[in-house]
Amino acid sequence: MLLNQFLMLGAVLFCIGVYGVIVRKNAVLVLMSIELILNSVNINLLAFSLRNGSPDGHTFALYVIAVAAAEVGVGLAMVLLMYRNRRSVGLDDLSEMKG
């Protein structure tokens, strides 16, 4: 069974995504990393769905894709506004929330 390989692929993608979110300073790249995380989750869902022979996982993955599309839409709009106001997409500049 290829389950292990699928899960390994998912785990690797997840780790890359988390690394990107934590390390990258560019907002667009952070968004892309989030997409990686979501897709790693999708791979896990599909893997288990195939193994259990039920279509639930497939359906759920489709939902995740739809939600991810919406999320990217909102996220990119925010990035665009940020660029318009500050002429930069660097996350280090966004430190007004410092307590």
Partner: protein, 781 residues
């Protein structure tokens, strides 16, 4: 006597649309009631058109049903049991007990349906003129229509629960109608009195219905497949020999107490004369065809139950005859001391209801039902006549001594209809009252109650006398007071409780003034809207007696043929078929040998059930009729002579006799105070029951409840003070302050975490998620 020859004759009975759908008749005015309530005020005739149209529709359907019923009866031989048209739907059911609602149409219901619909139609037309411009005109018509709906529903009722529904609907509507002008204290008191007095009797209705249900339900379910509420089931059960004498007697007595209350029998008749506080059309409807005949109708409807329970045709005097006989005399005697024309008529109604009850008690079922029928016409006519007088001649006064007299010249139509109806009420041949009342008296004697036959004749004498007195005071002699054209404001106020427009003075002054104007022109005849109903009713008062006139031989006994239930033994298989199946219904009738030898009511029926006891009919004798008419004329002449001496010649020996002679004076004040029954009820019974209770309740209130409340208040205040000092100030405030301080400290400690760096937040998030996942994994292992 009864041979068990079970030759099952298959008889086909005719039916028709009106008979099968008679249950619609009460629904029409019920729907009209809601139309009037919701849309009445916006309509051109303020809602009265809905009421009148619905009553016309009900009348048309009743007449159609009557025609088809006559066809049905005429289609079969005299010995055949004519099956009533019964339809039933489940109203609600609960744990095996299901209640139906439907119709039970037989000769009795048809008779009463026609009367109720007819009188209601006329009264509604009359009211459009009589209450013209009234403040609550629309609501008056709404109540009037619902009132008729209640009575019609009671008449078609298939079971006791539906009957109670109609019965209570009438109780409610009579309360609303009697208290129509509730701004006057006396009117609302009269409405309350009517309501509470009939309610007192209604306890008997509920008790009786329950007793009969629990006694009969097993038998009716097993034998006929109907519940113990069904009127048909109860009738058959009563005659089946199944009921224990205790159960059926208790049930019948309890139901009869309800009839005493509703039909104004002694000793609960006191509400009826007070009910005159309502508008005259209401009195007319209430006293002729609805409300008060409800009690008589109930006895006639469940006649087998009363027959067995009261032991009618037995050797001893039964409860119904006794109450009926007492009521006839005491009410008639009271009518002599009244000065209010409507109260004379009210006591006359009470007395006539006594006749009906006495007839039912003595086994004279048919004459009693026939008396309901004829009485409705002439009593409605008399009341509407009294209304006509007050409307057009006496400036809204009903006082015969002060404001009437000599009116025959001014009001020829009202006068002639009044005379016809009075003769009918007194029972003069050939007016309708003769054929019904004389038959009752005759049959009471025939059944062996000789004493009560004399009571009946004495009652007829009294009736003739007090009606002659009322007629003399109203229409003969010299005009007095308002009838003579006098117009005095102080009088007006004195009669405000009967004043039709007095209450409109505030908001429709113009209409009021207009009435004052023509009242001061002196008496005159009423308009067509008032006189036409009078003429119609008088015509029927004259002619309706011929519907059942044994004086002219058997061919004239039509109501007996159509309405009297036939006492035949009917096999149960014929009944078990679904009732009300469309088209012809088949029954299997088993004939007893001989026409008058039915075992029903005397023996236990074999091989079937009975729905009605075999009744006896007194053969008509001209000499008996002549004797009673002679007594009536004697009463009239004596009363006339006395009235002339008293009221016109002012004979010094007679006027004021009650003040000079102590014995007569005592008798007069005994009557004038209505036998002190009101005093007994209000001062003694109500006070002796209500006052100790209220005093006890007051003591309990002052000492126990107030003590508890005060104690609770004081201790609450003390507790609250302690709580404030200790809990609120120290504990709660301490906790709040402590929470604030610790939150501040925690916030200071956590401040470095809020770096404002998005990546750091992300890292924290994932770190927390990783720790969470780790914990999950460890727990699941």
């Amino acid at each position: 006597m009864f041979s068990a020859s079970t030759e099952a004759a298959e008889v086909i009975l005719k039916s028709g649309w009106f008979l099968e759908n008679a249950f619609i008749i009460p629904i029409i005015p019920a729907v009209a009631f809601f139309l009037i309530i919701f849309f009445g005020k916006k309509m051109p005739m303020k809602g009265s058109e809905f009421g009148i149209l619905s009553m016309f529709a009900a009348l048309a359907m009743s007449l159609g049903a009557a025609y088809q019923w006559i066809q049905r009866v005429n289609g079969v031989s005299e010995e055949t049991y004519v099956k009533p048209i019964i339809r039933s739907w489940t109203w609600w059911q609960n744990d095996g007990v299901s209640l139906g609602i439907g119709q039970h149409i037989d000769g009795l219901s048809i008779t009463i349906l026609v009367v109720v619909a007819f009188i209601s139609s006329l009264v509604q037309i009359y009211s459009t003129e009589y209450l013209h411009g009234d403040r609550r005109y629309t609501h008056f018509f709404a109540s009037l229509t619902l009132f008729s709906a209640g009575m019609l529903n009671m008449v078609v009722a298939e079971n006791m629960i539906q009957l109670i529904l109609g019965w209570e609907l009438m109780g409610l509507c009579s309360f609303m109608l009697i208290g129509h002008w509730w701004e006057e204290g006396a009117n609302s008191r009269a409405a309350l009195k009517a309501f509470f007095t009939t309610r007192t009797g209604d306890i008997g209705l509920l008790v009786g219905t329950s007793v009969l249900f629990f006694a009969a339900n097993d038998w009716t379910q097993k034998t006929l497949g109907v519940s113990g509420f069904s009127i048909r089931g109860l009738s058959a059960w009563a005659l089946s020999g199944d009921p224990s004498s205790a159960a059926i007697t208790v049930g019948a007595v309890a139901l009869f107490i309800a009839c005493i209350g509703k039909s104004g029998q002694f000793p609960l008749h006191t509400w009826l004369p007070d009910a005159m506080a309502g508008p005259t059309p209401v009195s007319s409807l209430l006293h002729s065809s609805t409300m008060v005949v409800a009690g008589v109708f109930l006895v006639a409807r469940l006649y087998p139950v009363f027959y067995e329970g009261m032991n009618i045709y037995g050797n001893s005097v039964n409860f119904i005859v006794l109450i009926g006989g007492v009521t006839i005399v005491i009410a008639a005697a009271l009518a002599f001391v009244q000065t209010d024309i409507k109260k004379v008529l009210a006591y006359s109604t009470v007395s006539q209801l006594g006749y009906m009850m006495m007839g039912l008690g003595a086994g004279a079922w048919l004459p009693a039902v026939f008396h309901i029928f004829t009485h409705a016409f002439f009593k409605a006519c008399l009341f509407l006549g009294a209304g006509s007088i007050s409307h057009s001649a006496s400036h809204h006064s009903f006082d015969m001594k002060k404001d009437m007299g000599g009116l025959r010249k001014f009001m020829p139509i009202t006068f002639s209809t009044w005379i016809v109806s009075t003769l009918a009420l007194c029972g003069v041949f050939p007016f309708s009252g003769f054929f019904s009342k004389d038959e009752i008296i005759d049959n009471v004697g025939y059944a062996g109650y000789n004493f009560f036959m004399i009571v009946g004749l004495f009652g007829a004498f009294l009736t003739a006398a007090y009606m002659t007195r009322a007629t003399y005071l109203t229409f003969f002699g010299e005009p007095r007071g308002a009838a003579a054209g006098e117009h005095h404001e102080d009088e007006h106020d004195a009669h405000a409780s009967h004043d039709d427009h007095g209450h409109d003075a505030h908001d429709s002054h113009a209409a009021h003034d207009a009435h004052d104007d023509h009242a001061s022109h002196g008496p005159r005849e009423s308009g067509l809207i008032i006189t036409v109903p009078l003429i119609l009713l008088a015509t029927l008062a004259l002619s309706s007696g011929f519907l059942n006139a044994p004086a002219f031989g058997e061919k004239w006994e039509n109501l007996k043929k159509w309405a009297e239930p036939r006492a035949e033994v009917v096999s149960v298989t014929g009944i078990a078929k679904p009732a009300g199946a469309h088209g012809e219904t088949r029954i299997a009738a088993e004939k007893a040998d001989g026409h008058h030898a039915s075992p029903c009511g005397t023996e236990t029926p074999v091989g079937g059930v009975c729905y009605a006891p075999q009744l006896k009919h007194a053969p008509f004798k001209w000499w008996k009729a002549g004797m009673s008419v002679g007594i009536v004329f004697l009463g009239m002449i004596l009363s006339w002579l006395l009235s002339v001496q008293l009221y016109t010649r002012k004979n010094k020996k007679l006027v004021g006799l009650t003040e000079r002679n102590k014995v007569l004076g005592a008798g007069y004040s005994f009557l004038a105070n209505k036998y002190y029954l009101d005093t007994l009820y209000e001062k003694i019974i109500v006070r002796s029951i209500a006052h100790p209770i209220s005093r006890g309740a007051y003591w309990f209130n002052q000492n126990v409840l107030d003590g508890i409340v005060n104690g609770a208040g004081t201790s609450t205040r003390k507790t609250a003070g302690w709580v404030y000092r200790n809990v609120d100030q120290k504990l709660v405030d301490g906790a709040v302050n402590g929470a604030g301080t610790s939150a501040e400290n925690a916030g200071g400690a956590l401040q470095p975490v809020q770096s404002g760096k998005v990546n750091q937040y992300g890292a924290l998030l994932f770190g927390a998620a990783a720790i969470g996942a780790l914990v999950l994994v460890i727990i699941n292992f």
